[in-house]
Assembly symmetry: C2
Homo-oligomer: 508 residues x 2
């Protein structure tokens, strides 16, 4: 998902903005029991939407016939197994798709072939991507208050993406625990020198459970991003961070860390919430020593690709509407919710245009982005390649917040977009996904387009459980509820068609 | 908890009985949201209880003064931090307490010292226990339909307790998947010979979520118990079982397996639900090969101990009421819910008798049982040591189903026990724990006493979430809600006092 942690770490404002967005989104989320919670009823439209609709004279950008097409696409998406089948193949048959890995390349080839099979015009757009490979990752507490002679305690952790390695035989050092930046700043000079520094900032599970998953994540991910360099700056030999996520099943959450350029790099790993609690408890009683072994490797950057597939527009083939997700994933799980689902629902948009024989005025451009997790190199390459073409980008959609029930659409751009989109919201109201919410950003990979003024969009997904699984070994196919995936496919498909076939392009 | 899987595997009736018990218990469980669900309101007493009370003429075995003592004990248990502090020490400072391990011995010494500090008369009762040690445990799918050249897929698993090892370098074989015994029986002759056989029986999560955790467990654990020998009987090179538990966080559930005496033993492990799904999906598409490495060791049986601590009765010191939990645990987590909590709430019963200066007529005997998880050798030793003393055992209590909110007390013995206990239920009604439920068994370690006619008891714990964590790495201190733990301590303490101080002994 839009980790964008380098941005988060460097720009606290963005966190605040993201948090604010999440708070907005949460006004639509109903607190209820997990897993099989029924879809919330359609929400009343915002006053802003109604105002916009009034200001536009209530004139719709779509004819009744086009609305009928949207309804057909929506209903087909709800029933068609294509998205689920594609997701199952990406996750079970291909597996994890770490940037630079053979599986990532296999996924590129597979998705390209699937798009060609639909008759789309396929381009592989090259990008140099990081090629980091996880190694051994173990830790044991080897000394603590009350220890029985000869015993150790296992600590469950996982290396952060991009981490450097410890010596092959590991390193042993005392653990220093801080809960936040303030406690780090308050450490006596030299207190962390040569030690293993643990950032024990707790992921706000209650906030997430209330539907503010992004805000909870934003509060934690800064430690994952900036913690290792902050630790190195005070002389720590290694840095551990409490996992930026929920779950409570002793499952560590990986994710990219962000070493400060030119500064010392120390090995960095995420421990589980349980192990952070243990270390904090024990370190509060007396000296605690940990033996830590991480042997990841950073190989030379590797060539990889965005998969671009165009369903050519019938009137304005040069004008494009992007519908997208990111194809790479972390390596612990199989990248089902992050972001196989986003790719699969975008593929479904293409598949249904083909299946229903629909040729919108403008080009619908499917993109499976590469390396979102490790710096969005694919998106950067796209922005270079298409740097003079922003005007022809009529809209861009990315799905990268899982596949739980969508309640609507985020939009970033001109204020009038919400009112303009109201008829589309009306079509999606039938599946409880008709709310239209203004947001400062919509997706990591389409952020460059957003910045260039291209109207951009994302489904508003239920994020209450997303961060329990995010970046863990448990991000697997079974976490995706087929009905919810199809609802997301409906949102993506209807919106892509609407943007590509409106009489006038979306306001910008 | 009362795995007793050897019994389960060999005696399907017991599963049915256990399931029926769980169904009974579930009638008291309110479906609600996890974690911080409020305690359900006190339930109406059963018609049977009322009938029994009427038949006994409504005469209470306890005076109003004794009822007042119970209320004091209950209220003290709700506030006193002793149980939580002891549990934290057992889990965080000592850690996993596998039978035969240094940590198990440390726990024996620690608990004995704590009991001595209260002024109880402490005996260490020797038992020879298994000494099985987990080794390396890894698996990768090395060949499957759609595989990219040079790639593998990691399978998350854990060796079953007592499993024999694979060769040190592992073994590679094709995977054969069966969902149940029927599918195993339907395999063509020789179909599993030399293969890795996966029993893919799904833990019934819905049943567990409705409060029937024990019934769901009973339906799955038979495969863990009997599956490996059943696989060996059809020539399998190794056996995998889908984890007997819920959770959905790719966390494997260990537990004892039960090789048939004298038959071939093959390496046996539990895979996660996610990995079982993956293997089933891939194997349904074509041949799947797995490389499996398990290097556990079965060392010679080791001496260990039940910790027995008597709070001597003031009138009948020879008559005893047992209050107990089991001190050993599996090794993946730190044994907080299984069964550090049972030990801690039993310790609290002793602590509060001391703290409040209460000396019941009969002896309250705390027991921390050893090796429940690996065959209940501690309980067996107790039954040998005290074989002629059943008549002096007035009652026996064990807590071994976690530490979630208790709704009442299970009792096994004479039908009249429920009515006789009604005044005790009345004291516990104030914390929603006053229901009295007849059950065929109450706890694995006190099963021998139950069989000899000793009235036996256990808290009726909310089991909706217990089997998500049971026997996994996530069975850690944080899983215990302090308020719920204290409610369990109240049940144990009040009941132990009531049994030990009633004018007449409990009916039998």
């Amino acid at each position: 998902m839009l980790t964008s942690l380098m941005e988060f770490a460097r720009n606290p404002q963005r966190i605040a903005v993201f948090a604010a967005t999440a708070v907005l989104a949460a006004t639509l989320a109903l607190p209820s029991c997990p897993a099989q919670a029924p879809a919330p009823p359609p929400q009343p439209h915002s006053i802003l939407d109604r105002l916009n609709a009034m200001l536009s004279g209530g004139k719709s950008a779509w004819t009744p016939e086009q609305i009928a097409v949207m309804e057909r696409l929506r209903d087909a998406a709800l029933k068609d197994p294509y998205a689920l089948d594609e997701l199952r193949h990406l996750t079970d048959n291909i597996g994890p798709r770490l940037s630079g890995s053979p599986q990532a390349q296999q996924a590129v080839d597979y998705v390209a072939a699937e798009m060609r099979a639909l008759g789309a015009e396929v381009t592989l757009e090259k990008a140099q991507v990081p090629h980091w490979v996880r190694g051994q990752e173990t830790a044991e507490v080897v000394s603590w208050p009350g220890q029985a002679p000869g015993t150790t305690q296992k600590i469950v952790l996982t290396a952060l993406g991009g981490s450097v390695a410890t010596p092959a035989e590991g390193l042993t050092a005392e653990v220093v625990v801080v809960d936040n930046w303030k406690q780090l700043a308050a450490l006596p000079k030299g207190a962390a020198a040569g030690k293993i520094l643990l950032f024990n900032h707790k992921f706000d599970k209650e906030l997430a459970a209330e539907g503010h998953g992004g805000a909870a994540y934003g509060g934690s991910v800064v430690y994952r991003g900036a913690g290792p360099s902050a630790g190195a700056a005070v002389g720590a030999a290694a840095v551990l961070v409490r996992s930026a996520g929920g779950g409570d099943y002793r499952s560590p959450h990986t994710g990219l860390t962000d070493y400060v350029d030119g500064a010392a790099k120390v090995p960095a790993a995420a421990v589980t919430a349980e192990d952070a609690d243990l270390l904090k408890n024990l370190a509060g009683q007396g000296p605690v020593k940990l033996h830590l072994t991480l042997t990841p490797q950073t190989l030379p950057d590797a060539p990889s690709y965005n998969v671009i597939a165009d369903w050519k527009g019938s009137e304005h083939p040069e004008q494009v509407v992007v519908v997208s997700g990111h194809l790479d994933s972390w390596d612990l799980g199989t990248g089902a919710i992050d972001d196989g689902a986003g790719v699969a629902v975008s593929m479904q948009a293409m598949h249904l245009l083909k299946a229903l024989g629909i040729h919108p005025r403008r080009t619908v451009r499917f993109i499976a982005w590469m390396s979102e997790e490790e710096g969005s190199q694919g998106a950067a390459a796209y922005m270079v390649e298409h740097k003079d073409d922003a005007a022809n980008h009529i809209g861009a959609i990315e799905s990268d917040l899982g596949a739980d029930h969508p309640t609507g659409i985020y939009y970033a751009g001109k204020q009038g977009l919400g009112g303009w989109l109201r008829p589309v919201g009306g079509v999606l109201d039938a599946i409880g996904a008709g709310s239209l919410l203004s947001a400062p950003e919509t997706g990591e990979d389409i952020g460059g387009l957003t910045d260039k003024g291209v109207p951009s969009f994302a489904p508003v997904q239920d994020s209450r459980f997303y961060f329990n699984y995010h970046h863990t070994a448990a991000d697997t196919f079974d976490k995706v509820e087929p009905q919810h995936l199809n609802e997301n496919a409906a949102v993506m498909t209807v919106l892509a068609y609407a943007l590509a076939d409106s009489a006038e392009a979306a306001p910008r």
